[in-house]
Amino acid sequence: MRSTTRTRTLVASLVAVLALGGLAACGSDSKGSGSSATTTGSGGVAVTDAWARESAMSSGDGALYFTLTNGGKADDELTAVSVPTDLASSAQMHETVETSGDMSTGTSEGALSTRATVGLVHETTETTMAGDGMMTMKEVTSVTVPAGGTVTFEPGGYHVMLIELAKPLTIGQTFAVTLTFAKAGTIEVTATVRAS
């Protein structure tokens, strides 16, 4: 428990530094992209660097990422993302989150209550062990892009899950992505498949 308290203090003091570190790292990842097209909607929102990871398996799901920049004076909201049905059966906005696993909590009850507080499943039948913190995906229905701000969909954060790919994604492949915003309306961009 003591570690949890210390952890919280650290979060407060390190949020800025860590967050910047994460964004910087992601920025460098994005440089390898061949897709640099910027598409701006009527509301001042731009979508850049749309990419999806090359499939590791011959079947399964995929992940799509992009950067949203709001050059306008009002917040906007990404409410839906879709891809052609011959690419994937559906697309869902997800966020990868870490549940606060606590090494000092040795009981599965402790782990279960932790999970309940982050809004995940709370049935008692699930199998849970205590130990290193867990990562999981949470579906999100909208993402706010603040006025003058940027939101990056990136590995380990927000992503669009491409459910049931019709075919594996291969490097260099491109496909259309339609993003719907509350104010900017619909923006279509082309995503490129790459390794990372």
Partner: protein
């Protein structure tokens, strides 16, 4: 305000790094020999996993039990994940593959074991297909427990967590799991745990440090 929420989440995803960095720093002794503080932590007390084994579908014949021990003088990297994980598992495997590439000749001392926590969906041959996307055939082990009791027994000793969302048979379900990569030495001790989000170059530097610390005579 959502953006702030994102930043907090980014930070909280990295939070074990900060927490562990600070606690290993204050613990002194065990990590004091590390020249450059690396991400992650050295489990104390020692976690012994060398007597545990899981079926390895990359072995011949497929399903041969594999004990959690590195080859002599080497390191075994162990990750507990699942194959339909679209975001963090391929990211970590990609970073791990980049680390092996950066290690050059030292890469031959390192093997990577992926153990699925999703026994309902992931078959042994699927894990082999998945790992082949990232690694050369002699670089990996594709592990699958026969049931969740055996899996619990293994993950408990590593200090890894996993959780399967309750679901109707055949319907979609979510999986939560520790994003940690564990390093095991040739005696079967867990010598390091890297958190999710450790980049390939950081892993490579960490592996070099661990090889030198774990096997000082051969360094």
């Amino acid at each position: 305000m959502k953006r702030i929420a994102v930043l907090v989440l980014v930070a909280s995803a990295l939070l074990p790094v900060a927490a562990c960095g600070s606690s290993s720093g204050s613990a002194g002794g065990s990590t004091a020999t590390t020249a450059v503080a690396q991400k992650g932590y050295r489990p104390e007390p020692k976690r012994k996993v060398g007597t545990l084994s899981l079926a390895d579908y990359a072995a011949q014949p497929p399903g041969t039990p594999f004990a959690f021990k590195a080859q002599p003088g080497g390191l075994l990297l162990v990750y507990f994940g699942y194959l339909s994980c679209p975001d963090i598992c391929p990211l970590t495997m990609g970073d791990t593959a980049a680390a092996l590439e950066a290690l050059g000749d030292d890469a031959s001392k390192v093997k990577v074991a992926f153990a699925t926590v999703d026994l309902e969906r992931d078959e042994g041959a699927d894990i082999v297909e998945y790992m082949t996307h990232f690694f050369a055939p002699d670089q990996f082990h594709a592990l699958r427990a026969r049931d969740e009791y055996q899996l619990h027994g293994v993950t408990y000793e590593f200090g890894a967590q996993w959780s399967i969302e309750p679901h109707e048979p055949g319907s979609f379900y979510g999986v939560a799991h520790s994003g940690t990569t564990y390093a095991v030495d040739d005696k079967g001790n867990v010598v390091w745990a890297w958190p999710f989000g450790t980049h390939g170059d950081e892993l490579a530097a960490g592996i070099r440090t661990l090889l030198a610390e774990t096997y000082p005579a051969s360094a």
